[in-house]
């Protein structure tokens, strides 16, 4: 079976479109998108009388026609940001009212994901090509129901999915980060969550872990060391491991066939941990490039026969 795995597209619509085409492009039998589906940035487009105005990547842009507006919205979405069309009063309100930005962010994220699920329906031939999606630590809770309700995408969180004799278990939670994001838990709790989902696997020889957090100290979890103000230390040259010890220990004790991860975008790599092949394809969603891993699984031998990290 050939699997394509990508992760951390953070709202980039161009990456989502590429992901939907990845099965055909790589001739994959299954496509899996790890967590962190949603974006981090919202760009207000202010609607004035007869034109729109926005600042995109530091440049002030005036849009006079609907076509121009749509083009700018497309550019913003492709970068992983959410265009929010607002009146000047609404923009003022977003600035002034407590919680208004959060509500608008959630609204834009859920609308965007709804649109993505509609796109998936067409591209994945109504579910003929299996597609697994999961949340990550940066994803709001509202996305779970949207993905769950999609007819052609399977929400993986906390489930053991049987895929042609292979067993895929997913967990979008991570160990605590300096940003205090949605799906974070102390290591002990992570281990409990892992044990709970892994206990559903009948055969570890053909198990695939899809855990958002990479294993600690594996080289798949190297991020720039930050000081107290979240500034990279020593010119960004110093990296440190920030992965999960619970994930590391679980891989070492259960020894699944394959373990795929994300979360740390800059730590693209491959690591053999005992019999387990652990992979973090990394992410460069901001460039519109979909980094991923093409994996050939041998059901008979219960091993990863071939693998290649790609920049699609």
């Amino acid at each position: 079976m050939r699997v394509f795995f990508a992760t951390d597209i953070h709202g980039s619509e161009v990456c989502w479109r590429k992901f939907l085409n990845s099965a055909a492009f790589y001739k994959a039998d299954l496509v899996v998108l790890g967590g962190d589906v949603t974006g981090k940035v919202m760009v207000p487009i202010v609607a004035h009388n007869g034109y729109w105005q926005a600042v995109v990547r530091g440049e002030s842009i005036r849009m006079d026609t609907q076509a121009e507006l749509e083009e700018v919205q497309k550019q913003i979405r492709n970068k992983g940001s959410y265009p929010a069309v607002v009146t000047p009063d609404e923009l003022q309100n977003l600035s002034d009212e407590e919680g208004a930005v959060d509500r608008r962010f959630s609204q834009e994220m859920t609308h965007s994901l709804d649109r993505w699920m509609d796109m998936a329906d067409g591209k994945l031939q109504g579910g003929e090509i299996p597609c697994i999606l999961n949340g990550g630590n940066d994803d709001i809770w509202e996305i779970d129901d949207i993905i769950e309700s999609s007819p052609c995408v399977t929400f993986g969180e906390g489930k053991a999915l049987d895929l042609d004799g292979f067993h895929l278990v997913s967990m979008g939670w991570t160990n605590p980060t300096p940003w205090d994001t949605f799906r974070e838990a102390p290591e002990e709790q992570l281990r409990e969550k892992i044990d709970a989902v892994v206990s559903q696997i009948p055969d570890m020889e053909r198990a695939i872990f899809n855990f958002h957090a990479p294993p600690y100290g594996s080289g798949l979890d190297e991020a720039p060391a930050l000081d107290d103000t979240l500034r990279p230390m020593h010119g960004g040259a110093v990296m440190k491991p920030v992965g999960s010890t619970a994930v590391r220990d679980a891989i070492n004790s259960y020894q699944p066939m394959l373990s795929v991860h994300g979360h740390i975008h800059e730590s693209r790599g491959i690591k053999k941990m005992g019999r387990t092949l652990a992979i973090n394809p990394g992410s460069v969603y901001g460039d519109g490039v979909l980094q991923g891993a093409v994996l050939e699984l041998n059901a008979k031998k219960g091993k990863v026969a071939k693998y290649l990290l790609v920049n699609g």
Partner: protein
């Protein structure tokens, strides 16, 4: 959900609190890194010993300024690449993505891996001449056989290069975390040492220098009336230098390819940049490299002016000429900072000054293998190299195999360098091969708007314009001019010692080796059913 509004009173952007939203790295750190990479003390002074005698009519300050201005365009071009594809791996990633995987591998393997084998003995030699030789001479130590001069013997060069390789290997093994801190202290300590030299040369007169030089020339090396003897020996050898000035331009331009030995590296940290980016990053990235480069230019000019004032320009060039002719006045490399230390008649002070100034070396040596291991890792993850090349030992986190790939050939080349004085003259090969790698990155930045229009449009670099013209591709063209000029000079002018038969074979062999590794990888992986051509093939969007 916590959010931040950007844009002042009328927000233009809302950020929600999410992983990886970090502040930009400190510009000060980038400046330090770039200044240490274009290291005036270790590389600049070392190069001057060769450049002055080889091009006696060239004017140093003019050449330094021309080089600084020209390399500034390389800084703009690289800042453009960094903010467009901010990826650890630098040239390998940019060239692979923009120009193709095969070219990216060949250029990165030669420029960031193979040629650094040759840099190891160069680093070793610099350690010898700027730390061991002056220290031994000052303390009048006679062990090992011959004292300070022993470090200039074949065995001395080899042993010190081995020490350098071990230090650099250890620093890679121990990780950058501790070393980056050491690097910062080394920079500030080294600057303090440089400031002491400046003060000494500033407050003392030319007569004071001659007197001190003669005193310690006699005391440490037994040379009577050393100042006059130096000038006499140089004249006897037929060397005459031009008076210090600013022209003519023609011979001065010939110094530019020589000065690339230290001024071409403000972008050395570009292999290390990660994912961090933002609208203002171009300015931050550019400022770090640019200020680092111009700090080096400034140090160079200060040094040169003080040499003219206190040491004497003709005398300094005569010292260098004797070393160039393999007849150094005191039997060791003429280290100007050791001579400056002689202005204080106190051995302890002189020793401390030499030790403090050696911080310029120790703040710099750790980067020798760092970028190479990153390129090796990246190539292993791309399955071009065996998977083992990217393995890191579980317990000690040592990248054992990549270090072997670096260290073993470096030791072999260290031996050849130490025991073959002909091979030793190929030091500018080390610059040339990296310049070729830079050249292809410059080509990549020029072609970027056409080959990857979406990537270019999305890049902050595309919005940096002068009179409506995007400056980054223009800077790329000017950088190509710089590199082509240097390559033509290196390959056509015998005085750079790189266009000899053996040197060309040495460099050619590196490219052939890289091509063979890549072709072999394609064949082997293809037999395994893995298509390496897929690595950078773009998935259609629609």
């Amino acid at each position: 959900m916590a959010t931040d509004a950007i844009g002042g009173e009328t927000p233009t952007l809302f950020l929600r609190k999410a992983t990886g939203l970090v502040r930009g790295w400190s510009v000060r750190d980038s400046i330090i890194y770039a200044c240490l990479a274009t290291n005036f003390v270790t590389l600049g002074l070392y190069e001057f010993t060769f450049a002055g005698p080889a091009f006696p009519k060239g004017q140093f300050i003019t050449a330094t300024l021309i080089s600084g201005v020209w390399v500034s365009f390389l800084v703009i071009a690289y800042a453009g690449l960094i903010v467009t594809i901010p990826r650890a791996g630098g040239d390998y990633v940019w060239q692979s993505r923009i120009l193709g995987s095969g070219l990216g591998f060949v250029m990165a393997a030669t420029g960031w891996w193979f040629i650094l084998w040759l840099w190891a003995p160069i680093y070793g030699n610099i350690l010898s001449v700027q730390l061991f030789e002056p220290l031994w001479a000052t303390l009048k130590w006679t062990w090992p056989n011959g004292g300070a001069a022993w470090f200039g013997t074949n065995n001395g060069i080899f042993i010190v290069t081995l020490i350098t390789i071990v230090i650099a290997g250890l620093l890679v093994s121990l990780g950058m975390a501790g070393y980056a801190r050491i690097q910062k202290y080394a920079f500030f300590g080294g600057m303090a040492g440089f400031a002491v030299v400046v003060i000494l040369l500033l407050i003392n007169s030319h007569a004071d220098f001659i007197s001190s030089f003669n005193l310690y020339g006699q005391k440490l090396f037994g040379v009577h009336n050393a100042y006059a003897a130096t000038n006499h020996a140089a004249a006897k050898a037929g060397y005459t230098t031009s008076p210090f000035g600013f022209g003519p331009l023609g011979p001065t331009m010939l110094l530019v390819p020589a000065f690339m030995f230290f001024l071409l590296w403000p972008n050395w940290g570009s292999t290390l940049y990660g994912e961090i980016r933002g609208a203002s990053d171009f300015r931050r990235v550019f400022t770090g490299m640019f200020a680092g480069l111009w700090m080096t230019v400034l140090l160079t000019i200060i040094f040169l002016l003080l040499i003219v004032k206190t040491v004497g320009w003709g005398f300094y060039q005569n010292l260098n000429a004797l070393d160039y002719n393999l007849t150094p006045q005191f039997g060791i490399w003429p280290y100007p900072f050791m001579f400056a230390g002689w202005l204080v008649h106190n051995t302890a002070f002189q020793v401390i000054l030499i030790l403090v100034l050696s911080l310029w070396f120790f703040g710099w040596v750790g980067t020798l293998f760092l970028s190479s291991t990153r390129v090796i890792f990246a190539a292993a993850f791309d399955r071009v190299l065996p998977d083992r090349a990217a393995e890191v030992s579980e317990k000690r986190k040592v990248p054992f195999y990549s270090l072997v790939l670096m260290l073993l050939p470096a030791v072999i080349l260290a031996a050849i360098y130490a025991y073959s004085s002909t091979f030793r003259t190929y030091t500018l090969d080390a610059t040339l091969v990296i310049a070729v790698t830079y050249l292809f990155s410059a080509v990549a930045v020029v072609l970027l708007p056409w080959l990857k229009p979406d990537l270019w449009r999305a890049s902050p670099a595309s919005r940096i314009k002068v009179l409506g013209v995007p400056i980054v591709p223009v800077a790329g063209v000017i950088t190509i001019g710089l590199l082509v000029f240097n390559l033509v000079e290196w390959l056509s002018n015998d005085l750079y010692f790189v266009n000899s038969h053996d040197s060309l074979i040495f460099m050619g062999a590196m490219y052939v080796l890289a091509i063979v590794v890549y072709v072999l990888a394609r064949v082997v992986r293809s037999r395994q059913g893995i298509d390496l051509g897929l690595i950078n093939k773009e998935i259609p969007v629609e």
